[in-house]
Structures are given as structure tokens and as C-alpha cells.
């Protein structure tokens, strides 16, 4: 689905040979497949559930505030109830005592729903290989995007959100429930970011010295 906004002043002049009506339609009417339209809408209005576990939630909250402004990506509408949210960010350590609560909250999210696992603890237990911590939220929830860091910077969460948006934008879900097996969305295996970005990262040769500000 391709579209763009242009200001009236700088818009290209009507093309020679075309009628005024054609131009009017070109500028105001968008032809699109309904499922593309729905995917586009879903992608750009992911409402997160107001849910936080520990330190990572502070960085997640920072992503909502002025410097980082998650609203630019349509994901700032925090919902206090899972019934109204599309996405849950598991921001922090998943504790054994908290796990059944997390599970219940996830179950209460309405389909379609997505999970971002934010920070090392939620990804794998991180530095807390200890009796009271679940070694990664994916032990009992399906995870769409893993954001690394302890805690990840707000920018890292934004990147995770953009990756999720990209994958949602490419998904074509049925518009209503279907009985046959096609109703099951098979998630594509995404290529690991480390592999995609590896060459670019390795190419960096000039690194900032820690001796200077």
C-alpha cells in the first residue's frame, strides 16, 4: 500500500493530457486491497498494555516521554486493561511468583496480540539465574520480538517496535474467523538481526574513546 502526503504548494502540477477529474481521483482516492489496508492499520496503531515488572519498565516509560516520544509510531496509547490492548511489553524480570499473573494477563489480551520481550531477564533470565526467576518469558508465552540490553535503551525499544510493525505490516490475517486450517497464522522465521546487521557493525573501525566526553 503506497501513499504519501504532499502539501498543496509544492504538489506536482496536473499532468498534461489528464483531465481534472483524473487528478482529483489520484489525489483523494486510494485503491487498495482490504487486507492490505487492515495490515497497515494494525501496524500503525499498536496499543501497548500498561504493564511493567522492573527496571526495564523505567526505560520503557522513558520511551513514552518527550525525548523519545513513542507517539511518533502510534504506540503511545497505554491501556490499563488487557482487553483494550494489542501488545504486551514484558519489561523486566519474570518472577516465579508473578508468572501465573503474567500468563493470565496475556490470556486476557484479545487477538490479534503481540509480545515484545524487553531486556535480558525477560529474554533469558539474564544475569538472574536464581531460584525465583523464570529463565525467559518464552518458557510460557510466545514472543514476537526480543529487545536486548540490561536495561535496553529507549532507542532499542523503539527499534524493537519498528521491527514488530514491519512484521505486522507483512502479515495477512483473515478478516474474520475461519474454520479451515488456513485460519492459523504461521509466523515466518525472521532472520536474526545479528546476522543482518553484522557486516555493518564489523565495518566500524573508528570507535569513540572512553577518555573523552
Amino acid at each position: 500500500m503506497n501513499w504519501s502526503l504532499e502539501s498543496a504548494e509544492t504538489a506536482a502540477a496536473p499532468q498534461r493530457g489528464g483531465s481534472e477529474m483524473d487528478e482529483f481521483i489520484r489525489r483523494n482516492v486510494m485503491m487498495v486491497k482490504l487486507e492490505d489496508m487492515v495490515a497497515w492499520g494494525r501496524k500503525n496503531s499498536i496499543w501497548p498494555f500498561n504493564f511493567g515488572l522492573s527496571c526495564c519498565y523505567v526505560e520503557m516509560a522513558t520511551a513514552f516521554t518527550s525525548r523519545h516520544d513513542l507517539a511518533r509510531f502510534g504506540a503511545e496509547v497505554i491501556r490499563g486493561t488487557p482487553r483494550q490492548a494489542d501488545m504486551i511489553v514484558i519489561a523486566g524480570t519474570v518472577f516465579r511468583k508473578m508468572a501465573p499473573v503474567v500468563k493470565q494477563l496475556y490470556d486476557q489480551l484479545l487477538e490479534p496480540k503481540w509480545v515484545i520481550s524487553m531486556g535480558s531477564c525477560a529474554n533469558s533470565g539474564g544475569m538472574y539465574d536464581i531460584y525465583s526467576v523464570v529463565q525467559g518469558v518464552d518458557k510460557f508465552l510466545p514472543v514476537d520480538v526480543y529487545v536486548s540490553g540490561c536495561p535496553p535503551r529507549p532507542e532499542a525499544l523503539l527499534q524493537g517496535l519498528l521491527l514488530l510493525q514491519e512484521s505486522i505490516g507483512n502479515q495477512r490475517r483473515p478478516l474474520s474467523w475461519v474454520i479451515n486450517e488456513q485460519g492459523i497464522i504461521q509466523r515466518e522465521e525472521n532472520e536474526v538481526q545479528r546476522v543482518i546487521r553484522g557486516p555493518e557493525r564489523i565495518a566500524a573501525t573508528e570507535l569513540r574513546s572512553p577518555d573523552e566526553v
Binding site: T62, S66, R67, K97, M98, K103, Y131
Partner: protein, 598 residues
């Protein structure tokens, strides 16, 4: 790597009050004092048998010594002594219960210990003397399986009610990967959820009074206003709060058990995540405690760098409190302004430490690296920029009529209540009692700085906020003095136990090579001793009680956090108010759950 202990165990006790108390106890108990232990923090440590501990505690609670009292039960914990080697002179014991008492008026500490044996783990409760003993005793029961006779509700506090075993006993596994892999099917979820269900009868609560039926409201463990994974079960008569039962343990990361596994050096990053808004300030009591046992004196420059960064984190933490406090009573915009300053400070911290929230930047005997060139430029910008913004926030938040009406006279308590419940920090100063560790027991060179201790008078929600706002201005004053007077010199001590050792002491010959190799692979061996080190953290007194058994890891790491004590007080100060006031009270306490459950 064995280093002779340089710790001098002096005969002097830390204050006349402590001395008077010990002399009085000697006169009353005589031979019934099993042992007088010397520790390198010079806190008088007396051993009592189970039969006489209640009498001793009652005497300390009720008597005055040199005209002063021991007002507060600062901490109550236990030690599993079964595999400890170095306990020369101490009475035989398998589990030792430790009481840490504090006199504010006399500025002194006193430690009492009770030896117990595994087949007979019980002793009388102290809840009749200090109300805050309640949670501490429940925690000891939860973690060690020691029973307190006469305790009103000795249930598990931190671990889930379905847990088997007691986590801080030495035979309990530390790693999750040593235990059965975690699974959570639907049946298991139902069992766990059923166990978490609040049953009023267990708490001695009635479901109805003579003329009305109570409503029970569950707040949390995930609720926007409880600031983390925290739950309160509220008993309501109409809109009026009859009682509240805080339920914690949803944020227990086993930091104390972690301390028994990580080397002295590699435990530092875990301290950052105790009060996760306090950043490197959490490193401070820990590294100072280890330095005290190791006998390390840090250079002046290190002290000033540590103070400067700690105060920056104090401002960061207070700003977040300020914003969320305003938000919880209905002002949504201030927090968006306040995070601008927070980002500015994080920029500075990142340029110095390389990380934002959890730099883990202090080291045993110093800091990780020297300050970068040009470090002071951004700090001076902040010092110019921030005071005007704080004034603006005063007019936006503190002078706001609605906020005043929502918070003044709500959740008030007296200085005496604060002592009874173990409340320290801004919560204590808001009642009009001027006490700040930085002034009363200066550490890391705080005695060289000029700053005031803000206090208030009413001890209500509004005052707790106002005190913290003024503390930010005082922190700016301290930071300015740090920038103006930063001493030159080393960023690490030359003591052999400094970890990692200074670079010029590493690659010279085989001796320095081996020393360096052992220091970074096994970690330093700290001489056997016990030490307790307290600082004025962002939220109150944060104290590390470390026991070294002459090993590369700590034998027991006890972390006394301010938030734990503060949360326990919620029911006592919120009865008779409405639910909306409860939200204001919770917001005014300024806690983080990692600081409660550790």
C-alpha cells in the same frame, strides 16, 4: 592470594550510648551474655540465649542509656552458620538470628545475636516490642524456616505460598538451572492463582460488621498506581478504608543468595539493581563495606567522584518520584517535563560511566576508570539549567491547589511512628526529625561538603514530597562543590585487594601477573570478618551486612533496604481514608519493588 588483615579491632565502642547499653546489659545479665563479639564496624555485638533474648530486647526498648534510647529496630535477619569455618570464639550455633538496633538520638548501633540449632528452630517474637519486626520475622521464617513464637501471622512473605523449602538455607539450590525446569500449564496456573487468592479470614478480618458488609478490593500485582509488581488487598466499608494488607514478593530476585555465589567483585552489578532508580549509589554501601573488611583506604578523588555520581542519581530518582507523585494525584504533564532533566543527567552519567541506569561503575578500592576529559562541561550546564526548572515545577506541582488538597493532611504520621515502623530517609525528615546519614555519620567525605538537611513538620504526603524537592536543590549544591573542588590523584587505591588491580601493577613480572590473574579470575580473598555499612540512599537508610569467611565470595550478604520497611507501614497510615487517598499515600512513599523484595 592471602593478605594479612589490616583491620584494627579497637576497644572503643562507637558512641557513649552503645557503651552505656553494653555496661547496663552486662550488669543485668552477667554470665547470661554468652559472648561479646568484635566486628570491624565496631558495633557492639552481644550473644544471648533464646531464653533471655526477650528480656534483653524489652530492656533495650524501655530503658534509656546515657539519657538516650534505641528507638529503631533497623534490621532483623538470620545467618545459616552450618558451613562457616571462621567463627573463633563465637558460641556454637547452626542458625543465628541477628537484631540490629539503632539509636537516633545517641547516634549508635547495637547488635544482638541468638544461637539456634536446626532441630529446634524457634524463638520468641519481637512484634510486641517493635511493630516493624512483623515482616522481618516473616522473611526470616520464609528464608530460613525459623519460627517466631507468638507472631500474629507467620506466613511466607517473599516466596510464593506454594514454595517448598527455605531459600537462604545453604542446602537450597541457588540457580534456577539447578532446579526442575519451569513449566506453567493451565492446571499449574490454576493452583498458583488459587494460592495467591486473598482470604480475609486468614488475616483475622471479618467479612461484615454489625451494620454493613465489607468490600474487598484487590489492587495489583499489576496496577498503574502501585509502581511495580506490588499488591494490596483493601478492606472497604463503603468508600472508607478499614484495613489493607500489602502482599509483596512479586519482585524477589534472590539478591542475597546471589551474594553467596558471585565473587566480591562480580556482585557489584547486582547491587545496582536493588534500588534500580539509585544506580551507582547502590554500589557505595557495598564497596565501602568490602573496603572496610579489606582495610582499603580510597584516595580523595575517588570519594569525590563517588559523591558526585551518587548525588546525580539522587536527583534522577527524586525527579521520577516527583513526576509520578504528581501523576498519581491527577497531574499528567509534569512528568513529561521532568524526564527532560532526567535525560540530561543520564547523558552526563553515560558520558562518564558508559551506561544509563545501571553503570555498576564503582570498584572495590576505587572506580572503574578516571573521569573523561571535559567531564565538567555538561555538569556545569546542568547546574545552570536546573534551578530555574525546579522553581517552575514548584509553581506547577507544589503550589497547585488541587494537589495540596489531595495530599495535605493525608497519610500523616509522627516521628515516633516513623521510629516504630523503621521509617528512614525523607519519610522520617518530613515528620520534623533532622536525621541524615550524610550529616550524622559522614561517609565518603560528606563531612567536607556544605549542604542542609531539609525537614518539614506535618509528616503527610505533601511534606514528604516537599522534602525531596528541597533535597534536589541540596544535591545540586553538593555536585557544584564536587565540580569546583575535584581533587587530582588516583582513581583507584594501591592496596593489593583493589579489584581489578591498577594497570601498572599488573604486567611487570611473574608476581604481578599471577596477582592480577587471580584477582580477575577467582576474585580477591577478603579476610574473615563481619561488617555493616549504611548510607543515606535515595529512599532512606540502605545497609549492607556482609560476612566474610575468608573466601572469594561472601558467606552471607544481608541487604537492609528502606522501601521494605516503608511499605509495611501502609496499613497503619491509610486506615480511615478513601481509596483515592491510598493512591496518594503509596505515591508519596517513593519505593521501588526491587528495593523491597531484593
Amino acid at each position: 592470594m592471602r593478605v594479612p588483615s589490616t583491620v584494627s579491632i579497637t576497644e572503643t565502642l562507637n558512641a557513649p550510648v552503645g557503651l552505656a547499653a553494653v555496661e547496663h546489659l552486662r550488669a543485668v545479665f552477667g554470665d547470661r551474655i554468652l559472648h561479646e563479639q568484635r566486628t570491624c564496624d565496631e558495633i557492639p555485638t552481644l550473644w544471648f540465649a533464646r531464653e533471655s533474648i526477650q528480656q534483653a530486647l524489652t530492656l533495650i526498648r524501655e530503658q534509656t542509656f546515657a539519657g538516650q534510647r534505641f528507638e529503631m529496630l533497623l534490621d532483623l535477619t538470620a545467618i545459616d552458620e552450618r558451613v562457616r569455618v571462621n567463627r573463633a570464639g563465637q558460641p556454637a550455633s547452626e542458625f543465628t538470628v541477628v537484631y540490629h538496633l539503632m539509636s537516633f538520638s545517641g547516634n549508635a548501633d547495637l547488635r544482638l545475636k541468638v544461637p539456634l540449632f536446626d532441630d529446634d528452630l524457634h524463638l520468641p517474637t519481637a512484634t510486641v516490642l517493635w511493630p516493624n519486626a512483623n515482616w522481618y520475622e516473616r522473611e526470616v521464617w520464609d528464608m530460613f524456616g525459623i519460627r517466631f513464637d507468638g507472631h500474629p501471622n507467620l506466613y511466607r512473605l517473599v516466596l510464593p505460598p506454594t514454595w517448598e523449602g527455605h531459600a537462604l538455607r545453604k542446602e537450597h539450590p541457588a540457580r534456577a538451572t539447578e532446579m526442575e525446569p519451569f513449566t506453567l500449564d493451565d492446571a499449574q496456573t490454576d493452583i498458583e492463582q488459587e494460592a495467591l487468592k486473598f482470604k480475609p479470614e486468614e488475616w483475622g478480618m471479618k467479612r461484615a460488621s454489625k451494620d454493613s458488609e465489607f468490600m474487598f478490593l484487590n489492587l495489583g500485582p499489576n496496577h498503574p498506581s502501585v509502581h511495580g509488581a506490588f499488591r494490596i488487598a483493601v478492606q472497604l466499608d463503603g468508600e472508607i478504608l478499614v484495613d489493607a494488607v500489602p502482599d509483596i514478593g512479586y519482585h524477589h530476585r534472590g539478591a542475597e543468595k546471589m551474594g553467596e555465589r558471585q565473587s566480591w567483585h562480580t556482585f557489584i552489578p547486582y547491587t545496582d539493581r536493588i534500588d534500580y532508580l539509585g544506580g551507582v549509589m547502590n554500589n557505595l554501601p557495598y564497596v565501602m563495606a568490602v573496603e572496610k573488611m579489606a582495610g582499603i583506604e580510597v584516595p580523595e578523588r575517588v570519594k569525590v567522584i563517588r559523591v558526585m555520581l551518587s548525588e546525580m542519581f539522587r536527583i534522577c530518582s527524586h525527579l521520577l518520584f516527583y513526576g509520578t507523585f504528581a501523576q498519581d494525584v491527577g497531574q499528567l504533564s509534569p512528568i513529561f517535563y521532568m524526564f527532560v532533566e532526567r535525560e540530561r543527567i543520564f547523558n552526563i552519567i553515560e558520558s562518564i560511566c558508559g551506561a544509563r541506569m545501571h553503570p555498576g561503575w564503582f570498584r572495590i578500592g576505587g572506580v572503574a576508570q578516571d573521569l573523561p576529559q571535559g567531564w565538567e562541561v555538561r555538569i556545569r550546564e546542568l547546574l545552570d539549567f536546573m534551578p530555574a526548572r525546579l522553581d517552575e515545577y514548584d509553581s506547577m506541582v507544589l503550589n497547585n491547589g488541587i494537589l495540596k488538597r489531595r495530599t495535605q493532611g493525608v497519610g500523616a504520621y509522627t516521628t515516633q511512628d516513623a521510629f516504630d515502623w523503621g521509617v528512614t530517609g525523607a519519610g522520617l525528615r518530613a515528620t520534623g526529625y533532622e536525621w541524615d546519614m550524610r550529616k550524622q555519620r559522614p561517609y565518603s567525605g560528606y563531612e567536607n561538603f556544605e549542604f542542609d538537611i531539609p525537614i518539614a513538620a506535618n509528616g503527610d504526603c505533601y511534606d514528604r514530597c516537599a522534602v525531596r524537592v528541597e533535597e534536589m536543590r541540596q544535591s545540586l549544591r553538593i555536585i557544584k562543590q564536587c565540580v569546583d573542588n575535584m581533587p587530582s590523584g588516583d582513581y583507584k587505591s594501591s592496596h593489593p585487594l583493589t579489584t581489578p588491580p591498577r594497570k601498572e601493577k599488573t604486567m611487570q613480572d611473574i608476581e604481578t601477573l599471577i596477582n592480577h590473574f587471580l584477582s580477575v579470575s577467582w576474585g580477591p580473598v577478603i579476610p574473615p570478618n563481619e561488617v555493616s555499612m549504611s548510607i543515606e540512599a535515595t529512599k532512606g537508610i540502605n545497609s549492607y551486612y556482609l560476612i566474610s569467611d575468608g573466601n572469594t565470595t561472601s558467606y552471607r550478604t544481608r541487604i537492609r533496604t528502606p522501601s521494605f520497611a516503608h511499605l509495611q507501614m501502609i496499613p497503619a497510615i491509610s486506615r480511615g481514608f478513601m481509596v483515592s487517598d491510598l493512591i496518594a499515600i503509596i505515591a508519596s512513599i517513593d519505593f521501588v519493588m526491587a528495593d523491597v523484595d531484593r
